[in-house]
Structure formats: structure tokens, C-alpha cells
Subunit: 512 residues, 2 copies
């Protein structure tokens, strides 16, 4: 055991040294300020250490065999964070656009490596590939798991698994509402938070203030869900874990059967409601909590988001009601739960939808591409992009018939700039290209077409379960190692709106 | 039998009367000149009557029981054509853009209705749905068939089936190189024929002259293929039929087993070469026949087209060679044949690729989306659009890093206008939306996901065979009637570059 720990510590040291080498090269090459990148990433590790500490407390309370794994992990996280601060010297003013891209991408990778330590050190997921897959699946709020017997894990590890998702959810709210719009990715300009900050001109305080307010809402809803789940008879541990993973639209459960473990309509409906909330733009939640409900219901993305959910739920519930002996309420609840779970990209399950008739599977597969609202913790293409795509398609006909006329696409009663429409078109084409290339590669590793497509959309869309052999009652343990790394990469790509990660692969990014 | 004929004739009369009603309405509504539409469509029916006459001659030569079916069909085609000329009075100068869209879409529908008469009247495909499906599948050079025992058909009917495809091929060459670019659809401006016409300023003589030259090339290659197939030991009837359907990238065969019927490498390679030619822009063929080979090889679309074929063929042949006991030459030939057949959207088969390992099926499924070159008889998204999409994706990264820089996409050493790039992005998104909606509808009719996707891409891409239950050794007979009509519609939508047909469904098209 000590040997393993020693090896891991060594590996982290070489990891840092590697970075120093890259740092030297890049400094000469392109004037990217690696100093500040290290400094910021290091500082962020203290946050991860803090959450590890909470998990340690849980482990201590239950007094199981995962305590030392957490202690070691905290020590490593703190030392790496400390070292990266000691050896760097830079001011936050040095963060340019390119440094922003690098930090935003690498924070997930580094958090996932450090976050996989408790799994590895405790011996519950001894394999690095599996542990990394499970952790990045958590941080990106995907929820795809390689675990085949979740109930056998100690409480500390289970708690860590859930809080990873909750942390990831926090990260993505700030990213998608405050940071990515500034980087100008895939029409994200449209999604910029409307939450009024104190100093709107200056970037840094604005992000900080926005983050603070949004996190308060996030915490508020999490606590509300815990209370409601407790009222439904769930125990405190399960209630906290599921509230974490619901609000993060993550979908990790403490039970192998996911939510199907509880045969309670009340619990199902509570989780449905909170999945819907988690899949909503958090700016709207802010307005709702300020009782500005008109502002919420006037929001076009929200209306379409609810519309899509109802549309697919009703169709599927009718199909199930008329094709099986399931009662009406249960048909509706099962359909609504699965549709909400997949559209918000949470990934909880109350039934095995792979056992439904092919048509419903096809519909759910389509739902997986839709995704939640922009500015939520959910993934996918996002309702706003889908709606703008639909509107632009109609406008395209008008343009074809009247080439001279200026046909504008409107959203929330404002006309959308052609540049943003173009960005969104490019985003969707990219999404599909990545989906296709991912499918080819997964098929090359031996998966059949359905499973290859299913595993790719499940991870690229940050959903969790897919179709085929990675359906809701299956898991990702049988995927070959190379496939797990590819899917981990896709989770990150999907989580960061594609371009943030892919831009790092472009040589012109590194040239000045 | 007489009764059936009587009914069909009656149906055609009501068909015409219906049009007169629509005509009255539309005249008042939007000033669309229905007169000229009827006149042009009527005149074109004389062409179809001419090809029916050729098939009649074949039927008479073989003296089988399909002779009267052709005589009746010719009579109906001529009378409908004659009537539409008698009752209309308009000059060709009255063809505006909107009339152009209507004529271009409706000519395929009317040709398919008239063209299905020999099948119905001869009793070999008594059902209207099946006969229409088989005929529009022919005219759009798709090649999806509902027939389960092709060899049992008389020679006249078989010949009609093949010449329908040849006619469709002729139609699409003129459309895609001379007419659609004028209508400005999905970046088609780029594909305009470079074949020098005598009066480049005036539209009508230019189309006529371009058509004449391109058709000469088409006939030349068809005759060349007939001769080469005869040399390979194929009989004259089969050689003519297969040359017709190769050059049209149609894929109808006179044998149930398609090209697998001939176990001759020579025949396979001859057909591969002519499929490749048929999938090439006919403007390039024009240059090749004028010995301007440099102009051909400098063409970027051609280079990528050959590149994609080699890329996929080599990968698949290596997979087959290393995973089965098939010899090297046969592995290569089978892979090349299937890749060329699907990429050019011909649809011939020498093996049942559904029996290959999942990975090769996934690769072939991807190939189905690529399609042939623009300005060929092939369907699909088209190499040029795929290449411009790839190039634009790379440019997108540069734009993201350097928002101020003007990053241009170049093709054939010329910079492509942003408007055309936008058109192509919109086209591809539309293609995928139609594919997805088609898949949902086919799944709603009971097909499983693979078969639903397979049947939609096979028809939308004008390929013929798909994957799943509509694979290369299967057929479309088991698809429900409603599904056959939907797939027929998709063939037309795919054949006419989406917008030409879909624009007719837009209300704003009909308003002035």
C-alpha cells in the first residue's frame, strides 16, 4: 500500500516537472504566460483540498477503510498547490485570452487527476484509467460510471463521488455564465449572465460577484432538495448525495439501480422538479428567487425548454400507455423522468429504457442531443442553439425566395446578429463531426454501431448512460482502456463547449 | 385488367383537373405563372414517351406479356402532354425563379407517376405505392427496390427500370450544372458548369448548349461501358442495363444478387471505374475528353473525392484482410467496390457488407453521408461541401484565436465568399435535421434504430441499399406503405439538394 502511495506521489512530481519543461518551451515560443497558469491552477487545488476534507470528515464519521486515502489525497493536493504557488510569481492581470483557454481546460484535467487519488489509494478503483474516467465523469457532471457494485463502496468514497459532481456543477455555472462568453465561443455571447454585478466594467470583480450570487442559488436549491427528499423517507446520506448530483445534472447515485431503487412517486417527482431546475439557466433561477416570475416565463429559451420536455414526455408516455400494461400515471412518470433526465443530461434512471420499443429508444436518442438550457449545469447542444437553428432554418427559406430582403432571426424579442448565427451553425456542425469521429473510433475498438453512438453521445453530451451496451442499467466497465480515455476526452470537450478544448490542439493557438 | 386501366386513366384526369383548381387559386394569390409550368411539364412528358417507346421496342423484341402495358403508358403520357399544351398558352420567357422551383420539383413527381404505369398496367407491380416507390427510386437514381424476385420480370420492364435511371441521371446533370446554380441553392453557385457555351449571357441557349455537350459525354461513357462489359462476357441486355444504371449512379440491376451475380474481377473493376467516372463532376469529364488532364487533376474536389475513396477502401480492406480468410486482392476489390458504390451513391453490391464486422459497417455508414462530386449523377452531401466544411472548421479556430484577422477559406485556389460558406453550413445542418426527422418517423413505423437510419440515408442520399433490415441483400418491400411514401419524398428532397423541394412547403413561397 505504501509502495503504491509512493509511486503516485512520484508520478505527481514528474507531472509537475513535465510542466516546467513545457513551460520553458512555451515561454520561448509564444509568450504565453505559463507562470500565471500554474499559479491559478495551483490556487484552485486548495478548493479541491477543501472538498476532500469534507469527504474525509464523512469517512471519519462512518469510520471505514477509506480514511487514509483521503488524508494522503489532501496532502498531495495541498503540496502540489503549494509548490505551484512557491515557484511562480505573477499577477492576475497577466491572464490573457490564451491563458484563459489553457486554464479553463486544464483545471478539469488536473482536478480529475487529483480527484482520482482517493479511488486509487483506497483500492476501490485501483486502476488509473478507471479512476480517472470515474473522476472526470464526475467533474464534467457526466455521470458515466465504470462501477459494477456501487453499494459495496464506503460512505466517504460515495460522498466524494457525489461532491465531485457538485463541484463540477459550480464550476460550469461560472464558466458558462461569466467566462466562456468573454472567450466568445459558439454563440456563448448570448448566454452571458444578466445578473447585475457591482462593477460591470471590470472583469475580475464582476466574475467574482456573479459567481457568489449564482452559487448561493445553487446551494439554496441543493438544501431545498435535501429537505424534500428527507420528507419522502430517504435517509440523510442518500438525500445529500442525490441532491448534489441532481443539482449538478450529474447523475451519480449511491445505488446500483439509480433512482429505481426507490419505488416512490413522491421521490421521483421531487427529483424530476429539481432536474428541471438544474437544467434551467441559473440567471432565471436568480430572477425567480427575487419573485420576478414574468421575466422567467417571458424567456424564450425557458419556454422552449419546457415545451421540448412536455412534447417528448407526452409522446413517449402515450406510446408506453398504449403498448404496455403500465398504468397511466406510471407511464407518464416514467416517460417524464427519463426525458427530463436525458434532456437535462443528468442521467438518473427509474426504468431500463433499452427494454422499451425501438421508437421510444430513437426518441430518447434524439433527446440526448438537445441538452439543457445554456447557463445551467447541464450539457448537450443546448436548447438555445437548437431553437436558433430552427428559427434560422425557417429564415433561410425566406432568404432563398427573397434574396434581396434582410431576414432577421429574433430571440427574446431581439434580433440576433448574423455572426452569432454563424457561430451556432459552426458549433452544431462541429458537434456532429466530433460525434461521428468519436463513433468511428469507438466502433474501431469493437463496439457495435448503437453502443458506439450511445457511448459517444452519453459522454460528449455529459449525460451518463447512453444506448446499446452502455444503456441505463449497464456501465462503462467493459469499454477498452483506450476507449475510456477517448470518452474522458469527449466529456471534457462537451463540457467546455467544444472550442475551448479543441483550440488547444490547433498549432496556430501556440504561435503568436 | 381493362378496369384497372380505366381507373388509372380516370385518376390521371382528376389529377389534371386538380391542377386546374390549384392553378386558379394560385393565379389570384401570388402571380405564379401556372400556364408556363403546365406547358413545360407537358412538353417534358414527350421525352418520357420517347423513352417508353424504346422500352416498347425491347418488349416487342423479346415478345413478352408487357407489350400492351407500354402501349397504354405511351398513350397516356402523350395525351397528358398533349392536353397540357393545348390548354395553355405561354412563352418560355415567363419562367421566373419561382416557376423554376415548381417545374424542377414537379417534373420528377409527374415523371414518376407516368413512369409507374408500365409496372402497374403489366401487373408486375400492381400496387400504386410500390410502383411509385420503384419509379421515383429510379428517376432520382436512388436504386432502392421493393422487388423480391427481379429475374422473374420480363425484359421490357427490366429495361424500363434501367432506362428510368439513365433518364434521371441525364436530368440531374443538367439540373445541377446549369439550373440549380441559378436558383442559388446550398452553395451550388460554386458548382456551375465551366463548359463554355456559345452565348454565355443568355440563360436559355446556354442551358441548352451545356446540356447537349454534357449529354454527349454521358452517352459516350455509357457506350464505352457497354463495350467493356461485353468484353468481360456479360450478355448485351445485361451490359446495356448495367451501363445505364452505373452511369446514372442508380444501381438497379437485372439480377436479384446485383453485381455479385458475376464472379468476375474484370467485371467488378470495370464497374468500379465507371462508378468513379459517374461520381465525378461532368465538367471534368468534358475536360478529360478534350485531353486537358491537368485541369482535371488540379481540381480540388476531384483530388479529395479520389482521396476519400482510397482512404476508406484501404482501411476497410486491411480490416477484412486481417480479420477474415479472404485473400488480399479480393479483400481490396470487395472494399473498393462497396466504398465506391456507396460513396458515388450507386448502390451496387458484390458482397453483403452487413455480414462484415461492426466497425466496417460504421465506416460504410459514414461513407453514405459523403456522397459523390457536385455536378455528377451521384447524391449525398457531396465531396465539395464536406471539404469546405473541413476547411472552414480549421479556419474557425484561427478566427477564434485572432478575432480581428480576416481568415478566408480557399478552394481551387480561389477564396470562397463567406455567404457560400454560410449556405453550405445551413445545407449540412438541414441535411442532418431531415435525416433525424426521417429516422424518427421511420422508427415510429416500427423500424429499429439501425434500419430507420439506414432506410433514411439510403433514400435521402440517393444510394439505394442502407444498413439494418434494408441492407444490400435486403429490399424495401417490408416497409409499411406510409413509410414508402415518406422515403419516396426523401429521395426527391435529396435529389434536388433539399431546398428546391422544401421551399415549396414554405407559405412565404406562395405569397408575392
Amino acid at each position: 500500500m505504501f509502495f503504491v502511495n509512493f509511486l503516485v506521489s512520484l508520478w505527481f512530481l514528474t507531472f509537475i516537472l513535465d510542466f516546467q519543461v513545457i513551460y520553458e518551451i512555451e515561454m520561448k515560443k509564444g509568450n504565453i504566460n505559463i507562470n500565471i497558469i500554474f499559479r491559478v491552477l495551483g490556487s484552485l487545488l486548495f478548493i479541491e483540498a477543501f472538498f476532500l476534507l469534507i469527504s474525509l470528515i464523512v469517512a471519519v464519521i462512518y469510520n471505514e477503510d477509506d480514511i487514509f486515502a483521503f488524508i494522503y489525497s489532501i496532502a498531495i493536493a495541498l503540496s502540489v498547490g503549494f509548490l505551484s504557488r512557491v515557484f511562480t510569481n505573477a499577477s492576475k492581470k497577466d491572464i490573457g485570452k490564451r491563458e484563459g483557454f489553457i486554464i479553463v481546460s486544464f483545471v478539469w484535467i488536473i482536478f480529475s487527476f487529483v480527484g482520482s487519488l482517493p479511488f486509487i489509494l483506497s483500492g476501490y478503483i485501483p486502476n488509473l484509467t478507471d479512476a480517472f474516467f470515474e473522476t472526470i465523469s464526475g467533474f464534467t457532471t457526466t455521470g458515466s460510471s465504470i462501477l459494477t457494485d456501487i453499494e459495496s463502496l464506503p460512505h466517504g468514497i460515495l460522498f466524494w463521488r457525489s461532491i465531485i459532481q457538485w463541484m463540477g456543477g459550480m464550476g460550469i455555472i461560472v464558466l458558462s455564465l461569466a467566462i466562456l462568453p468573454i472567450l466568445g465561443i459558439g454563440g456563448m455571447q448570448l448566454f452571458a449572465a444578466e445578473v447585475p454585478g457591482p462593477v460591470p466594467d471590470k472583469l475580475h470583480p464582476r466574475i467574482k460577484e456573479t459567481a457568489k450570487r449564482l452559487w448561493l442559488i445553487y446551494v439554496f436549491f441543493t438544501i431545498a432538495e435535501v429537505i424534500l427528499l428527507l420528507l419522502g423517507g430517504m435517509n440523510l446520506f442518500d438525500a445529500i448525495n442525490h441532491s448534489f448530483t441532481t443539482m449538478a445534472t450529474g447523475g451519480y447515485s449511491t445505488k446500483q439501480d439509480s433512482i429505481a431503487y426507490w419505488d416512490s412517486p413522491y421521490i421521483h417527482y421531487v427529483i424530476i422538479i429539481f432536474m428541471i431546475i438544474a437544467g434551467t439557466n441559473f440567471t432565471l433561477a436568480y430572477f425567480a428567487l427575487k419573485f420576478k416570475f414574468r421575466k422567467v416565463f417571458r424567456n424564450e429559451e425557458f419556454r422552449y425548454y419546457i415545451g421540448f420536455i412536455l412534447f417528448f414526455s407526452i409522446i413517449i408516455s402515450l406510446i408506453i400507455y398504449y403498448n404496455t400494461s403500465t398504468g397511466f400515471e406510471k407511464s407518464f412518470r416514467d416517460s417524464l423522468f427519463q426525458v427530463v433526465s436525458l434532456m437535462t443530461t443528468t442521467g438518473f434512471a427509474t426504468v431500463d429504457y433499452m427494454k422499451w420499443i425501438p421508437f421510444t429508444i430513437v426518441l430518447l436518442f434524439i433527446v440526448m442531443f438537445f441538452g439543457s438550457s445554456a447557463g445551467s449545469t447541464g450539457g448537450g447542444i443546448k436548447t438555445m442553439r437548437i431553437v436558433l437553428l430552427m428559427k434560422n432554418s425557417l429564415a433561410e427559406f425566406k432568404r432563398l425566395i427573397h434574396p434581396q430582403a434582410v431576414v432577421q432571426v429574433r430571440f427574446n424579442n431581439q434580433s440576433v446578429k448574423p455572426q452569432i448565427i454563424y457561430n451556432i451553425l459552426a458549433f452544431v456542425v462541429f458537434y456532429i463531426v466530433i460525434f461521428v469521429m468519436g463513433t468511428i473510433l469507438m466502433a474501431a475498438m469493437g463496439l457495435d454501431l448503437d453502443s458506439a453512438m450511445g457511448s459517444v453521445i452519453a459522454t460528449l453530451g455529459n449525460i451518463g448512460p447512453g444506448i446499446g451496451s452502455v444503456g441505463p442499467v449497464e456501465n462503462f466497465s467493459q469499454i477498452p482502456d483506450l476507449g475510456k480515455w477517448l470518452l474522458s476526452f469527449l466529456m471534457l470537450v462537451g463540457r467546455l463547449e467544444l472550442f475551448t478544448v479543441l483550440i488547444l490542439l490547433s498549432p496556430s493557438f501556440w504561435r503568436k
